[in-house]
């Protein structure tokens, strides 16, 4: 019985972590204007293309980051669960 409780806790934590990832993406999306105007660096850093590289920083960089937030959230959540489980096993 105890084992199942632990497992359902883990499942809850897994979905919670995934939801946090998606929420971060949501905040990112809703406030993209703020992120755009406050980026203090050039994401490419190559002088000769910086001029028209604006389109990369404005949109494509955000596309990529958004995609990776989505893609990486579940595996990161799974890794966190595995690490917690591993730590628990060691304590036992």
């Amino acid at each position: 019985m105890k084992h199942y409780q632990t497992k359902s806790d883990e499942i809850r934590l897994f979905f919670l972590l995934c939801a946090i990832g998606v929420a971060i993406l949501g905040v990112f999306f809703l406030h993209r204007g703020w992120f755009r105007s406050h980026l203090p660096f050039d994401p490419i850093g190559r002088d000769h293309i910086v001029g028209y590289g604006q389109y990369f920083s404005e949109s494509s960089l955000f596309d990529t980051l958004g995609l990776y937030v989505l893609v990486l959230t579940p595996p990161i959540s799974a890794t966190v669960i595995s690490l917690l489980r591993h730590q628990k096993d060691r304590q036992r």
């Binding site: 999306f29 490419i44 190559r46 002088d47 494509s60």
Partner: protein, 620 residues
């Protein structure tokens, strides 16, 4: 009937059925697509290049691989290329036959996906983007523990690189990453276990052997260096291209891919932690592979949106996820996945109904010419008659005029039997070195006439004058406007000193568009990154604009400046200049022709200073 034949017959019939549909479709015909967008024009200009013996990559930028280029000159190659789609569908059917254990379900899956492609995407995209998927399916179906099979997969990947360049690269990446995921999750990746290394080494050798035909072609056409250069060029184009923020937020097709993608990633992450098994099933290996493939393919959205072309990956991910639930008798979850996907697909069908109808109509039209045909100059000339401005332009200019088309009407080269430039559109000419290459080409080829499409001001939100200022400056300073034919402005070599007024006289609307510059955040980035290359100067009106830079600071998020000369005024819009912005005045079309700046009209919140750059070659 032989039992083996009886088993294979449905697959053979499926293969032949799909092949017939492909042979009837426009991808097997030398035709000019309706719509005359720059994509359709590019494809047609490449056909013209192939017929005239031009070498792709060496003579002009060509990213799609040798097969799709040379098939236009050879019927055998046309038939070989037409086999790609039937092979993809056959492999998908075989995969689902293996996963479901039912031949009927396997064939039904292949047929369903094929109809999905016909409705929501197109055969040409599926032919290309389904290729790496086919290599992945071969990898999963084969259960590659044998080094020999791994070698064959390597050869297949690099042959794919020769025929469809990007898909070959993708196949190698997807197989490498998927194998690593499988080995890590099955805890088989260890230096003490030699099998993965042996398999990997055989794969690499296979890739090397498969590249031999391409190397022979390099030697034959002397195009090895240009090929390397084109690979570097692609990386530069990524940074100068444009796409909308978060593709799935704006393109309904992307919902069909992103939601199943995210769902599949959730499912596999969940399965890894809560269904811990020693070995991954073929289904799980395939799901990991398709996830990796989809994530890699989405990277192309950095250059241009790819939503419509890879939409078939959505149902594939959905079918694999559903099967994972069905295998574990979780019928509720399986029906939830199918239900959600059906709702999105039906909504998409509703939203894009007109496009679906147009697709079906286009396909129906091709039934009038059911036989595939290779391109010849005669066929090309016939197809050119469909182009609306062809009569007006050919009556205005002699047939063999050497032309250059700005910004993007490559169909005009076959229309005048003119040589093809290194890049057909200003979009491809975004990197500055590409603009210089076109200028060199214009000088070497002694181009008689420049044809500017005055109705084509911007592409995907960016003005051509902003994207390719170096090229436009060269054109406007060396070619003077003579007359306008429909939407096209014809320019011949200047016999008098060029000036902006001649554009205003002959094409006032186009000249007006050149006076509006939407620079967005270019000036902000210029200031942030290059302030140490700029030095303030003192200058009074009227100011010499040669290599002049204007520093602007404004507390408002958007600033509009009016730069006045004696007779004209350029309106410049810039954004987010709270910390500072810098505008390169000589890059505005009005100042291509040196003339003093009389005054700048700016909002009261704005601070303006004049600057000079130590080295203008690194500035916009």
């Amino acid at each position: 009937m032989n039992k083996r034949l009886k088993l294979l017959l449905p697959f053979v019939l499926l293969f032949l059925g799909v092949w017939v549909v492909v042979l009837l479709s426009p991808i097997s015909h030398c035709t000019l697509w309706e719509g005359f967008g720059f994509d359709a024009q590019n494809i047609f200009a490449w056909k013209y290049g192939a017929v005239n013996g031009a070498v792709p990559i060496r003579d002009f930028f060509y990213p799609y691989g040798l097969l799709s280029y040379y098939k236009d000159t050879n019927l055998v190659l046309t038939y070989i290329q037409s086999l790609f789609v039937p092979i993809h569908i056959l492999l998908i059917s075989l995969l689902f036959t293996r996963l479901t254990g039912s031949r009927a379900k396997g064939i039904a899956s292949g047929v369903a996906l094929f109809f999905f492609v016909l409705l929501f995407s197109d055969l040409e995209s599926f032919q290309r983007y389904g290729s790496a998927l086919s290599v992945l399916i071969a990898f999963v179906l084969w259960k590659t523990k044998s080094p020999i099979k791994s070698f064959v997969l390597g050869v297949l990947s690099s042959l794919l690189f020769t025929t469809i360049t990007d898909q070959g690269v993708l196949a190698v990446l997807v197989l490498a990453v998927t194998s690593c995921i499988i080995y890590i999750l099955e805890k088989r990746l260890s230096w003490r276990k030699h099998l993965p290394i042996k398999i990997g080494a055989h794969y690499v050798i296979g890739v090397g052997v498969g590249l031999l035909p391409l190397f022979l072609w390099f030697i034959h056409t002397s195009s090895a260096t240009t090929f390397m250069k084109s690979m570097y060029y692609l990386s530069t184009l990524v940074t100068t291209g444009e796409s909308s923020f978060l593709p799935f937020a704006f393109h309904p097709e992307n919902l069909l891919v992103f939601l199943p993608l995210f769902g599949a990633i959730m499912l596999m992450s969940y399965a890894t932690v809560f269904h811990n098994q020693h070995r991954l099933s073929s289904l799980e290996q395939m799901l990991f592979g398709v996830i990796v493939l989809t994530v890699f393919l989405e990277q192309k959205s950095l250059i241009r949106s790819i939503s419509g072309s890879i939409v078939f990956l959505g149902p594939l991910l959905m079918m694999l996820s559903t099967q994972w639930f069905l295998d574990r008798k979780k019928y509720r979850e399986a029906s939830l996945v199918v239900g959600m996907f059906t709702i999105i697909a039906v909504s998409l069908l509703y939203m894009t109904f007109s496009r679906v109808v147009a697709r079906v109509e286009r396909f129906a039209q091709t039934l009038r010419h059911p036989n595939p045909r290779v391109c010849s100059m005669e066929v090309i000339q016939q197809a050119l008659q469909k182009f609306p401005s062809s009569k007006a332009l050919t009556s205005a200019l002699p047939k063999d005029t050497r032309i250059y088309s700005f910004p993007a009407d490559p169909i005009l080269y076959p229309l005048f039997s003119s040589p093809l430039p290194p890049y057909f559109t200003t979009y491809e000419a975004s990197p500055r070195f590409a603009q210089y290459e076109i200028i060199d080409w214009i000088k070497k080829r002694d181009i008689d006439t420049v044809i500017i499409n005055t109705a084509n001001i911007e592409m995907e939100g960016i003005q051509h004058a902003v994207r390719a200022p170096v090229l436009l400056e060269f054109l406007l300073k060396n070619y003077c406007p003579t007359r306008q034919v429909e939407r096209y402005l014809l320019l011949n070599r200047c016999t008098t000193e060029p000036d902006f007024a001649s554009f205003t006289n002959i094409a006032p609307v186009y000249a007006g568009s050149l006076l509006q510059a939407h620079l967005g955040e270019i000036p902000k980035k210029e200031w942030l990154m290059k302030k140490d290359k700029l030095a303030e100067i003192t200058m009074n009106y009227p100011a010499d604009t040669q290599d002049l830079f204007i520093f602007v600071q404004d507390s408002e998020p958007s600033t509009t400046l009016v730069l006045k000369t004696k007779n004209e005024a350029a309106v410049v819009t810039i954004e987010h200049c709270m910390e500072g912005c810098v505008i390169h005045v000589s890059n505005l079309p009005l100042f291509f022709f040196p003339q003093p700046l009389e005054l700048i009209d700016a909002p009261s919140t704005t601070t303006i200073r004049f600057m000079r750059a130590k080295d203008i070659t690194t500035m916009w």
